[in-house]
Amino acid sequence: MLKDITIGQYFPGDSIIHRMDSRFKIVLDILYVVMLFIADNFISLAIAGLFIIMAYGVSGIKPIMMVKSLKPLLPLILFTAVLNLFFVKGTDEPLVQWWIITIYWEGISTAIYMIVRIICLIIGMSLLTYTTSPIVLTDAIERLLSPLKKIKLPVHELAMMMTIALRFIPTLIEETDKIMAAQKARGAELDTGGLMKRAKALVPVLIPLFVSAFKRANELAMAMECRCYRGGDGRTKLRQLKAAPFDYMIFFLMLTVLGFIIVDNMVF
């Protein structure tokens, strides 16, 4: 049921990847995405793919989790591949020409590159959430965005909102399950009938859910105020993010690989 959602799931562990500074992890992930889209030949994509597979190997996350993170986005991947396959025009003779379908060698290669890129992109992003707890992640985002405070962006508040939202996702899912069961016990039909009927049947679930969500928000706000929370000004952190030599090492490795790929692209 609802409990099976895996987006943003975190698997606690003690691997090098888990212990890495989360700011570096985010920056590395962004660089990795850049790298994926710069890479446009076999060797550079192979390097990118190898890179993420090695990272998974080191992280101790089960390989099955890579597949799981891809599953919901499978239609998107296939759609992109099919589009590229049929619509990319090449300079050589078409390989297949039948009715309105023409397939060029370039179409096939672009489609494959695209698939590899998207797969690497998704499992790369998933590795970040698999190995970083949501709290640490938002903390890192706050630190990375902190220069934007200069232009009066409420960075701390945004990060706090994100932390709270992430914290309450499981709670709300559990609560939805409970309310659904309670209404089913009163004879509500939630999973049969047409679209309109189903939408209407959700009212008895959504209203209690909203009521308790607002109540929870109120209580949380009260509890935070009781502990003198006044936003980010002058607030210190319990867990200081600290970059270790290893973080810099990986960072420079990434830069080197990225540089190599750029050079590689220019040469070939």
Binding site: I179, A182, Q183, R186, G187, E189, P204, I207, P208
Partner: protein, 285 residues
């Protein structure tokens, strides 16, 4: 005919993954029509999972469930009919309230049953009265009521379906002592008036002793025993071994016995303890 019967009921969570756990393990029990059964067990002993099988909210991994003699997962049985027959009230049931008025909320169940306006009206008013809710509360918003009142509205919402079996998961949890007594008192009166079979899940041994005729004890997903109240609480030591509480007065009697004053192993009400103690005191004089 038994009101509720389970045969080798087993339920496993997350089958086929490393997280597979057996929440309910091979339970066979038969509960007769009209009985008031207390269900006790340590947290995580499978009580809540068990009761969700009795109206088909969960489907067992193996085994069978019979409600009033019908196998609830038979092809020709509509599971919704079973839910009207075996009413289930969840823990903190006030969270299920959603309508604009108390009346409409109580009417949700009967309306789902497809009852006519007049029938629904009769059921709603009767259920409200049984749960001690005044007529003038019916037109108020359920969200404006006190915690105890909300709980009773939620209970009335299930009772209005006039189930033959009423299953209650900690109906008094989180209420103040007055609200607690009131809710349990109304349930007990309802039981006496209607002869409905009742299963009451509770952590309070005092409540179980006060209201239930028989007790079903769960331990680690298995049925520990299903016996009369007398028999169950005469095994106080065993209950404590599986991590269950016993009534305070039973603990008191056990302490007395350790000090050499035996007032009997069947003490679980204050009245009986008082009687025995007075007898002993008289004997000394």
């Amino acid at each position: 005919m038994n009101a509720v019967e389970t045969k080798n009921l087993t339920y496993k969570y997350s089958v086929g993954t490393p997280f597979e756990t057996t929440a309910v393990d091979d339970i066979s029990v038969a509960i007769e029509q009209g009985e008031f059964v207390g269900v006790i067990g340590h947290t995580g002993s499978g009580k809540s999972t068990l009761i969700q099988h009795l109206n088909g909210l969960l489907k067992q991994t193996s085994g069978e469930v019979f409600i009033n003699g019908r196998n609830i997962w038979d092809k020709d049985v509509n599971i919704r009919d079973i839910r009207f027959e075996a009413g289930l009230v969840f823990q903190y049931s006030e969270y299920q309230l959603f309508e604009e008025t108390v009346y409409k909320d109580i009417a949700f169940g009967p309306k789902n049953m497809g009852l006519s306006e007049e029938e629904t009206d009769r059921c709603v008013r009767k259920a409200a009265k049984q749960m001690g809710l005044d007529e003038d509360l019916l037109e108020r918003s359920p969200f404006d009521l006190s915690g105890g009142q909300k709980r009773r509205v939620a209970l009335a919402g299930v009772i209005a379906m006039e189930p033959k079996i009423l299953i209650l998961d900690e109906p008094a949890a989180g209420l103040d002592p007055a609200g607690r007594d009131k809710v349990l008192e109304e349930i007990s009166n309802y039981h006496k008036d209607s002869g409905t079979t009742i299963l009451l899940v509770s952590h309070s041994m005092e409540d179980i002793v006060k209201y239930a005729d028989k007790v079903l004890v769960m331990n680690k997903g298995q049925l520990f025993c299903y016996e009369d109240v007398d028999k169950v609480f005469s095994m106080s030591e065993k209950l404590q071994e599986i991590g269950l509480d016993v009534p305070q007065i039973t603990k008191f009697a056990m302490c007395l016995r350790e000090k050499g004053i035996d007032i009997g192993g069947d003490i679980y009400t204050v009245e009986r303890a008082k009687e025995r103690l007075l007898n002993i005191l008289k004997g000394h004089n």
